[in-house]
C-alpha cells in the first residue's frame, strides 16, 4: 500500500525520566485533514504535538514526513519545521518586533524571500485573520485574541503543509475564543492540513474530520467526530464526554 500521508507517527514514545508521557503512538495525517486531539490534562496531547514539531525529542519511535523518516540533523529538522508550522497556547510572538516584522521574520530569514514578497504575504495573511490594521503594533499592545490571530498569520506566511495548534484558545478569555476559532474554521474550509490539541468540544465536533482521544499516553480512540461524540467506545472517552455534556 502506498503511503499517502503527510505525517505518520510510528511507535512513538516519550518519557521524562521515569515518567512515561507517550506510549506506542501510531497514527497518520492525510492531506487536507483537520484532526483534533482531545483528552484530559496530562494525557500527553501537548507532548505529542511538541514531538511532531521536534521541540521535544522522542524517546523511541519514528516520525515520517511524506513517507520519509525524519532524521536527527539540525538542518533537516529546520527545513521540516519550516513546512510544519506551530501555533502555541501562549502565542510566542516575538516581543521585540512589530506585528509586521513577526510575520516577515520566517519568510525573510528561513525562506529567504525578497522583501516585497515577504511583505505582501504578511499583509495577505494578516488581512485574512483581520489583523492587518495592527501591523505597527508590538505584541505587548495587543489583546490575547489579537496576538493569537497574528501568530496564526505568522504561521500561514510560511505556506506550511501542516499547521499544528497547541491549545490555541486555552489562554484566551471567552469573548476572544470565538474570533480565533472562526479563523481556524475558515482554514479548515480551505483544506489546510491541521492537527489541533484543544478543549473546544463544539469545534472538534463541527469542524474536525477526525478525533484522536488520548488517555495516559495512549491514543485510545481514532474515529470520525460523529462517531466519537455519539458512540464513544473507550470507557475513559465516555467519562470525558459525559463531563463535557454535563458541564
Amino acid at each position: 500500500m502506498k503511503d499517502t500521508s503527510i505525517i505518520r507517527v510510528e511507535e512513538l514514545g516519550k518519557s521524562f525520566g521515569e515518567h512515561q508521557v507517550l506510549r506506542k503512538i501510531d497514527f497518520s495525517v492525510e492531506k487536507g485533514e483537520c484532526v483534533c486531539i482531545l483528552g484530559s490534562s496530562g494525557s500527553g496531547k501537548s507532548t505529542l504535538l511538541r514531538c511532531i514539531n521536534q521541540l521535544e525529542t522522542q524517546t523511541c519511535g519514528k516520525i515520517y514526513f511524506h513517507g520519509q523518516e525524519l532524521g536527527r540533523k539540525q538542518k533537516e529538522i529546520n527545513t521540516y519545521r519550516s513546512k510544519v508550522g506551530m501555533v502555541f497556547q501562549s502565542f510566542n510572538l516575538f516581543n521585540n518586533m512589530t506585528v509586521l516584522q513577526n510575520c516577515m521574520e520566517g519568510t525573510r530569514r528561513v525562506l529567504h524571500l525578497p522583501k516585497e514578497e515577504a511583505h505582501s504575504r504578511a499583509i495577505t495573511n494578516l488581512k485574512s485573520v483581520g489583523m492587518a490594521p495592527f501591523i505597527n503594533a508590538y505584541p505587548a499592545q495587543l489583546s490575547g485574541g489579537q496576538k493569537q490571530r497574528v501568530a496564526i498569520a505568522r504561521g500561514l506566511c510560511m505556506n506550511p503543509e501542516v499547521l499544528l495548534f497547541d491549545e490555541p484558545t486555552s489562554a484566551l478569555d471567552p469573548e476572544m475564543v470565538g474570533d480565533v476559532l472562526n479563523v481556524m474554521k475558515s482554514l479548515a474550509k480551505e483544506n489546510l492540513t491541521m492537527l489541533i490539541v484543544t478543549h473546544e468540544m463544539d469545534f472538534a465536533r463541527d469542524v474536525s474530520s477526525r478525533v484522536l482521544f488520548m488517555d495516559r499516553g495512549y491514543i485510545v480512540e481514532d474515529v470520525p467526530p460523529e462517531e466519537f461524540f455519539t458512540a464513544p467506545k473507550h470507557p475513559r472517552a465516555k467519562e470525558f464526554l459525559s463531563r463535557f455534556i454535563a458541564g
Binding site: 510566542n92 521574520e105 528561513v110 499592545q141
Partner: protein, 251 residues
C-alpha cells in the same frame, strides 16, 4: 603665581590649575582604558555567556561535543578566576606575567587587557542571566518557524536580553571608570597616578585627591545621564499607529 593659597579650597583650585595638563591627560587615559576595556569586555562577556548557555545534545557530532565541552570548561575556569581575585592583583599578574614571558606590553595596553578580562567575567554572568530571563517560548516560536538555534539566539533572544541588561551594563561601565584607578600599580597614568604626582610637589595630597574626586564625580554623573537617556529611548512604546489603509469597511 603671586599669592600663595591660604586654605584647602584655595589649594584645590591652585593645584587644579597648576597641574591641569596632568589632570586632563589622566582623565583622557582613564576614559580610554575604561571605554575600550568595557566595550571589548562586553563582547567577551556576550561570547562567554552564550557559550555557558549552550547545552550539549546527545545528537551532536562527537567533534562538536568535544569542542563545546572544552569551551564550556574554559569559560567556567576563566569566570571563577577573574571573579575570585581582586583587579589590582590581576593587573600585577597580567602585566608582570606578560613582561617576564617576553611580551613587551606597555602599561596602558595591559590596563585595557585587565579591564576587559575583568568585565568579561562579570558580564558573562549578566548575559547568562539575561538570556535565562527571556521566556523559552520566544525561542520555541523561532524554532517552530524553522530558524536555527543560533539564528534564534542572535535575532530573537539576544536583542531582548540586551534590552534587559542595559542598566547592568551601565552600572558596570561606571564601576570600571572608577576601578581603573587601581591600574596605577602597573604605571598606567590615569587620574589616580596623576593626583599622586600632582600632590607630591607641595605635599598637598588631600587637595590633589579632592580634585580627581570631583573629576570622577562629574564623569560618572555625565555618563549616568547618558545611560538614562539611552534606556528611555529603548523603552517600549506605549502607542502605535493604526494602518488605516488596511481597515475593512464595515457597512
Amino acid at each position: 603665581m603671586t599669592n600663595t593659597p591660604t586654605n584647602s579650597f584655595e589649594w584645590v583650585w591652585f593645584i587644579a590649575q597648576k597641574y591641569s595638563e596632568l589632570f586632563i591627560r589622566g582623565t583622557w587615559i582613564t576614559l580610554v582604558v575604561s571605554v575600550i576595556g568595557t566595550l571589548t569586555g562586553f563582547l567577551l562577556g556576550y561570547a562567554v555567556g552564550m557559550i555557558e548557555d549552550v547545552s550539549i545534545s546527545k545528537d551532536d557530532h562527537p567533534v562538536k561535543r568535544c569542542i563545546l565541552g572544552a569551551l564550556k570548561a574554559a569559560a567556567k575556569v576563566y569566570v571563577e578566576l577573574f571573579r575570585g581575585t581582586p583587579m589590582i592583583v590581576q593587573a600585577m599578574i597580567v602585566f608582570y606575567g606578560l613582561r617576564q614571558s617576553g611580551f613587551e606590553i606597555d602599561s596602558i595596553s595591559a590596563g585595557i587587557l585587565v579591564t576587559l578580562l575583568n568585565t568579561g567575567a562579570y558580564m558573562s554572568e549578566t548575559v547568562r542571566a539575561g538570556i535565562k530571563s527571556i521566556d523559552p517560548g520566544q525561542r520555541e516560536g523561532a524554532l517552530a518557524l524553522g530558524m536555527s538555534p543560533v539564528s534564534a539566539m542572535f535575532h530573537i533572544i539576544l536583542p531582548q536580553a540586551f534590552k534587559n541588561i542595559v542598566p547592568e551594563m551601565a552600572n558596570m561601565f561606571l564601576t570600571n571608570l572608577k576601578m581603573t584607578s587601581v591600574l596605577n600599580v602597573i604605571g598606567v597614568q590615569e587620574l589616580f597616578l596623576q593626583a599622586k604626582t600632582a600632590g607630591g610637589t607641595y605635599y598637598k595630597y588631600l587637595e590633589s585627591y579632592l580634585v580627581i574626586a570631583i573629576i570622577y564625580l562629574v564623569l560618572c554623573f555625565v555618563f549616568s545621564r547618558i545611560f538614562t537617556l539611552v534606556e528611555k529611548k529603548m523603552a517600549n512604546k506605549k502607542d502605535y499607529v493604526l494602518a488605516i489603509e488596511y481597515m475593512e469597511n464595515t457597512q
